[in-house]
């Protein structure tokens, strides 16, 4: 982490330090965001194929293709294109127009698909939290017993399992048993929506729960060997109170962090899940755009996902600082 900056100083200044820390983290995010836009834009410019041809078809009049490219600014030098893109992005939040889906703006397409992905990610994080923290605590409490070894073996298998394969297994074996739709997304009402998201969210959530379980276990084990736990026990408190009240609260910080970070990964990692279950989410939209060489949609989608990822991680870091005063003074 960078040294210097207005937030450095002795601990205990409270709110001022927290505010300074927040400002510093926001300032640090600016070059990262700019660099991300630059990388994505350069990738975009390197994508082969003539956008005019893609939009108007192979047999289109060369003059029309040329006019299309001229009007959309594809003939400008790359730096000019980049600045125009940034300008539109930061002044109007305008990501341009799809080259393939006629007349649709990238914003519209991404907005629709983003909410599918967001719902999927929210449902999966619930699954991941319940299973992951549950298994982690159980393993830590029953440390070095069969329960611990088995749940940790399952967790490492979960880390090694491709999410799309778990999806395939569910499509083959779980869908017919529970009578769930195999693939697709149906949002006519909440019930049908939940039914079509049940398997994707479980697949995605179960695999993320593996990481959460491993981390919760080690965080809990760390805490369980502390002196104040022995004190709590020697006071004659019930084991459940010791575990849930004394240990859990202190193990919560690393767990909250990993859950927050997993949420970012869930939003992005959803691309594989969406493909397997044919959900019209953000990730699938981007992959389809790549296959059809729809430049503006590729760039817009990747940018949106990166911003969401950066934003979520920033929020996690900030909440971490609220919980743990030691973090604010990051001069390490």
């Amino acid at each position: 982490m960078a040294s210097g900056g207005p937030g450095d100083g002795p601990l205990g200044l409270g709110r001022g330090i927290l505010l300074a820390y927040t400002l510093r983290r926001l300032l640090q995010a600016i070059p990262v965001i700019l660099l991300v836009t630059l990388i994505v834009f350069l990738l975009n410019a390197a994508i082969p194929g003539d956008p005019g041809r893609i939009r108007l078809g192979q047999r289109a009049d060369p003059a029309a293709v040329e006019a299309y490219n001229e009007a959309r600014g594809y003939n400008d030098p790359i730096p000019v294109q980049y600045f125009n893109y940034l300008w539109r992005l930061f002044t109007q939040f305008d990501l341009g127009e799809s080259d393939v889906k006629a007349g649709k703006s990238v914003n519209e397409i991404l907005e629709e698909s983003f909410f599918v992905t967001l719902r999927l990610a929210l449902l999966s994080i619930i699954v991941a939290l319940i299973v992951g923290i549950g298994a982690g605590i159980l393993s830590a409490v029953k440390s070095r017993t069969a329960v611990d070894y088995i749940s940790m073996l399952i967790a490492i298998i979960g880390v090694s399992m491709p999410v799309f394969w778990l999806g395939i297994l569910m499509i083959i074996y779980v869908a017919p048993v529970l009578g769930l739709p195999r693939t697709g997304f149906d949002d006519t009402n909440t019930y049908t929506m939940l039914r079509s998201l049940a398997m994707p969210a479980s697949a995605l959530g179960l695999l993320s729960s593996a990481t959460i379980a491993r981390l919760s276990r080690s965080a809990m084990l760390d805490v369980m060997t502390q002196d104040y736990i022995r004190t709590a026990r020697s006071k004659g408190l019930a084991e459940s109170v010791v575990v849930l009240k004394h240990a859990m609260r202190n193990a919560a910080i690393p767990i909250v962090t990993v859950v927050g970070n997993s949420f970012g990964y869930l939003l992005v990692g959803a691309v594989l899940t969406e493909t397997v279950f044919a959900l019209p989410g953000l990730g699938r939209e981007v992959v389809e755009a790549i296959k059809q060489r729809d430049r503006e949609l590729i760039t817009g989608g990747i940018l949106l996902m990166s911003f969401v990822f950066i934003g979520v991680n920033l929020l996690v870091d900030l909440s971490y600082a609220v919980f743990d005063p030691r973090i604010r003074d990051d001069r390490s």
Binding site: P48, I156, P162, F164, I171, V287
Partner: protein, 298 residues
């Protein structure tokens, strides 16, 4: 004669701890099996696979019912796929692709990461600030997304493109670890001694500092191989990895999309192969981490 007791080096002690770790040894066995399959596929499966991975069993038959066979029939223990190709043969030949992508992708990341990480750690100052900022930016980027973005540029990505993309995305993890290690050892006696002897910075880095980073680097590389194999499978599954008919495991899964329900074996076995291979490297990597971690010393 008094017997001289020879002390063990940290690496020897780590390897001893590793040998006692049952799960890690299980991982090592899986890894060895995958290596064997990758190098000698024709010893394991009798069917012929040409360079493109095509083996047609279908030629002898006319209807799909005759060549699309479930597992267990003679000569095809894992069944045949929609084109009548032997599933086991394709999985065995797929091991080579997965392993190559895993190993070479990691090697590229190691090369970039070792160079940038050791320069940042050893030089410090501005160049360190620059490299560290760059590393942070890469960490801010979800790696799967960045890989997808890079592959979007290529019409038909070949293996070299995938190696480069995975290496380009993976190096910050290596750089960060190497930088930390180099910084922690930069001021130690053996480095000062080497400096006093007039050795060049380059020789100090190569001869003294980098060998001492070996443990953590081996751990991160092993886990990265697992991650890269998983990533390649994912990219192929999305249809933006290696093009057909290459028998990449991820590709085999997505190509059998229409048949998952009626011919489930096509959706099961390639995934099982991915999972076991990745599990092997993960178990080994976890074991190595425990073995090299001084806190685990008994």
């Amino acid at each position: 004669m008094t017997e001289v007791k020879i002390g063990k080096s940290p690496t020897q002690m780590a390897l001893k701890r590793l040998r006692k770790n049952l799960l890690a040894m299980g991982g090592a066995v899986i890894v060895l099996i995958v290596f064997f399959l990758a190098f000698f596929p024709s010893w394991v499966v009798p069917h012929h696979v040409d360079g493109s991975g095509i083996y047609t069993y279908a030629e002898q038959f006319r209807t799909a019912e005759e060549y699309q066979k479930p597992p267990g029939i003679p000569g095809h223990p894992l069944g045949t796929d929609e084109l009548g190709r032997d599933v086991l043969t394709r999985i065995v030949y797929g091991a080579g692709i997965s392993l190559r992508v895993g190993l070479v992708g990691t090697a590229v990341a190691l090369l970039i990461g070792l160079i940038l990480g050791s320069i940042a750690g050893y030089r410090g100052g501005r160049i360190d600030a620059l490299i560290s900022r760059l590393t942070d930016t890469f960490f801010a980027f979800p790696s799967l997304l960045l890989t997808i973005g890079i592959l979007a540029v290529f019409e038909k990505p070949n293996e070299v493109v995938i190696f480069a993309a995975l290496g380009f995305v993976g190096w910050p993890g290596v750089a960060r670890i190497v930088r930390g290690q180099v910084i922690s050892m930069r001021g130690s006696e053996f480095v000062l001694g080497a400096k006093a002897l007039g050795q060049s910075d380059f020789r100090i880095l190569i001869g003294h500092l980098l060998p001492n980073c070996l443990g953590p680097v081996v751990v991160v590389s092993t886990l990265m191989i697992a991650g890269n194999i998983l990533a390649e499978a994912g990219l192929s599954f999305l249809g933006i990895g290696l093009p057909p008919p290459i028998p990449s495991w991820g590709r085999m899964l997505v190509d059998s999309k229409e048949y998952w329900v009626d011919m489930p074996w096509m959706g099961i076995f390639p995934g099982l192969a991915i999972m076991f291979t990745v599990l092997g490297f993960n178990l080994l990597g976890d074991g190595l981490r425990d073995a090299f971690d001084p806190k685990m010393k008994d």
